[in-house]
């Protein structure tokens, strides 16, 4: 198993190189000079030239990229163009907030989605099936920034229950986590439902019923665990969507996370910061998927032996 983990981690290296390559070149070729962007509308030509020199922007892009990668190989993610702080500090000071938000959102959506998908499958083609799937789909259907504002209007302004933005109290996370998590209910509920539909047609479910086990118990004891395998896969993949969704959610709720930082970095052409975020996002995504793959082992004994 450790060998397997090690293999996966080594396999990450080309992915990181690929990701940085793509993003570095997209960002470098993008119109919009970082120096001009920092200095703004009222800059003088001399100031722009001076800053470009300071930032090392006058070298060819290939050289800049190579320099960046050399630093990265030594674990140095460079310095933010905009704030001049090390990117690692910029990114890691925001990472916990994003991680917390993502975990809460995943938890929220999973708690709702798995029972929803299960029940929909058990009562396939019934009214409940359709209704619960539509409910799940509502989340994916509403643009996250719109839903977020509606949440703020209702829970913060009208009812005064929860803070509208920021991260001042432990319960500040509730609204953004709901906004972000609601978006993911559909995918999780959908996959739970369809894998459940498949599982409840399996012979071993029939075997269990032939033993005289009540249907509800059969579903809980036999079907759920088997149906969870694809669900867990989707949860892993959802992390990607979640991280992307966090950019919007964090902006709406002034959540001090990486997504928001990445957006401002992109628009500020702060290439080292963008790359820092992308690398962390990629690492997260990969590590979560590794954990998911390992989790199969705990859910499904058949897979355990294969590592």
């Amino acid at each position: 198993m450790w060998k397997y983990i090690l293999k996966r981690i080594i396999a990450l290296i080309p992915v990181i190189v690929g990701v940085t390559l793509i993003v570095y070149f997209i960002m470098s070729l993008a119109p919009g000079d970082p120096a001009t962007t920092i200095l703004g509308d009222q800059a003088t030509p001399e100031a722009i030239a001076q800053l470009r020199e300071e930032m090392g922007l006058n070298d060819p892009i290939i050289i800049q990229y190579a320099r960046y990668m050399l630093h990265l190989a030594r674990g140095d993610m460079g310095t933010s163009y905009k704030t001049k702080k090390p990117v690692s500090i910029e990114v890691f000071s925001r990472f916990p907030a994003t991680a917390k938000l993502s975990v809460m959102a995943i938890t929220f959506s999973t708690i709702l989605a798995i029972p929803l998908g299960m029940l929909a499958a058990v009562k396939q083609n019934s009214f409940f099936d359709g209704a619960s799937m539509i409910f799940a789909l509502l989340g994916i259907s509403m643009p996250i920034f719109w839903f977020g504002v509606l949440e703020q209007l209702l829970f913060s302004l009208k009812l005064g229950w929860l803070p509208s933005s920021g991260n001042d109290y432990w319960y500040s996370i509730i609204l953004p986590a709901i906004a972000l998590g609601f978006h993911n209910i559909a995918s999780v509920a959908r996959i739970t439902r369809s894998s459940m539909l498949e599982v409840i047609r399996q012979d071993y479910i029939r075997t269990a019923r032939s033993k005289g086990v009540p249907y509800g118990t059969v579903i809980r004891r036999h079907a759920l665990r088997n149906a969870l395998i694809p669900t867990v896969t989707v949860l892993g993949i959802q992390i990607g969507a979640l991280l992307a969704g966090s950019t919007l959610t964090e902006t709406v709720f002034a959540w001090p996370g990486m997504g928001r930082f990445m957006i401002t970095s992109i628009s500020g052409r702060d290439i080292p910061s963008v790359l820092g975020c992308i690398i962390i996002f990629t690492l997260c995504f990969s590590v979560v998927n590794l954990i998911v793959d390992l989790a199969y082992g705990f859910i499904d004994p058949r897979i355990k032996g294969q590592y």
Binding site: G18, V23, I134, L137, S141, W146, A241, G245, I263, V274
Partner: protein, 302 residues
């Protein structure tokens, strides 16, 4: 020996049934789909949207009703004359939503066709040739997959600037690896099936096998993905608009309408409500239809 003989009869019987079914696959799928009321609702909405898009010009004239401003008439609440009110420069919101269906569907369709073509071909090649080719293509796709689609689209839009064409490119690029993965996944089992072996045995070229055998068999998951991805596309456009990377006015695009309207959400809620609901219903419809199609096309649930 006895057993074997009989098993074969059985297989034949079973196959006999399958053969009959295969001929009517489209019909059968339709029958199963028709039974699913939520999928039918989705389909009905999609049809209405397509009709809106096709007949948009008949309903509202683009130059005089959709983009023409009328400042004195700005921010009118919904009324008989303007069922969804007017926006900040006095344009009829309904007219813009109707014409917006054209933009959204166009972009969704174009981005999907692009992703599907490129991703599909890459995935098919990867799945079909396997080994080295597969490894190289899929590792590249993994790199793209590792970047969340929306973020990739944001980067590309920032780099290319905002126009409908660039938006299509951005969405298409971020959608490609998904298709590649799906098609490859669909091709892998097909590749080893006997009839492909047979086709190879009679000297079919690989290209011919891909187009004649492999692709038709990968259709089901691709249809589902296309339906779902259209919904995702529309949502991504809205997100990009929110970040100021969407489509330029006065083009009536739903996402940019919603995003522009959010500044007015407190005083003139209808400016967000109607575009928001439109997006919501559209995405809902595509997802319902996609879910229905998935169920209908899934042989395991047949």
């Amino acid at each position: 020996m006895a057993k074997k003989k009989q098993t074969e009869t059985v297989v034949m019987t079973a196959n006999g049934e399958q053969v009959i079914k295969k001929q009517n696959l489209a019909l059968e799928t339709w029958r199963r789909l028709a039974k699913n009321w939520s999928a039918m609702v989705g389909l009905a909405i999609v049809i209405v949207l397509v009709l809106c898009a096709v007949f948009a010009d008949v309903l509202y004239d683009y130059d005089t009703q959709v983009i023409k401003q009328n400042i004195s008439n700005r921010l009118q609440a919904p009324s008989g004359e303007h069922p969804m009110g007017t926006d900040e420069v006095g344009r009829d919101v309904l007219a813009r939503i109707v014409h917006g269906s054209r933009i959204s569907l166009e972009i969704g369709l174009a981005a999907n066709v692009f992703s599907l073509t490129v991703g599909g071909i890459l995935g098919a090649i990867a799945g079909f040739y396997g080994h080295r080719v597969d490894n190289i293509i899929m590792r590249i796709m993994d790199v793209f997959l590792a970047i969340p689609g929306t973020l990739l689209a944001i980067c590309i839009m920032a780099a290319l600037g905002s126009s409908i064409f660039n938006l299509i490119i951005a969405l298409a690029v971020s959608g490609t690896p998904g298709y590649a993965r799906i098609v490859r996944g669909a091709v892998l089992p097909v590749r080893d099936m006997e009839y492909v072996e047979a086709a190879r045995a009679i000297g079919c070229t690989n290209k011919r096998i891909i187009f004649k055998h492999v692709i038709p068999n990968s259709l089901a998951p691709v249809i589902v993905q296309a339906t779902m991805h259209t919904a995702t596309t529309i949502l991504t456009i809205a997100g990009l608009s929110f970040l100021g990377l969407g489509i330029s006015p006065p083009t009536p695009e739903w996402g940019s309408m919603l995003s522009a309207g959010r500044a007015y959400i407190r005083g003139y809620a209808y400016l967000t409500t109607f575009p928001g609901l439109t997006i919501m219903i559209t995405i809902l419809a595509f997802n319902l239809l996609g879910d229905g199609l998935r169920d209908a096309l899934d042989p395991r649930l047949r």
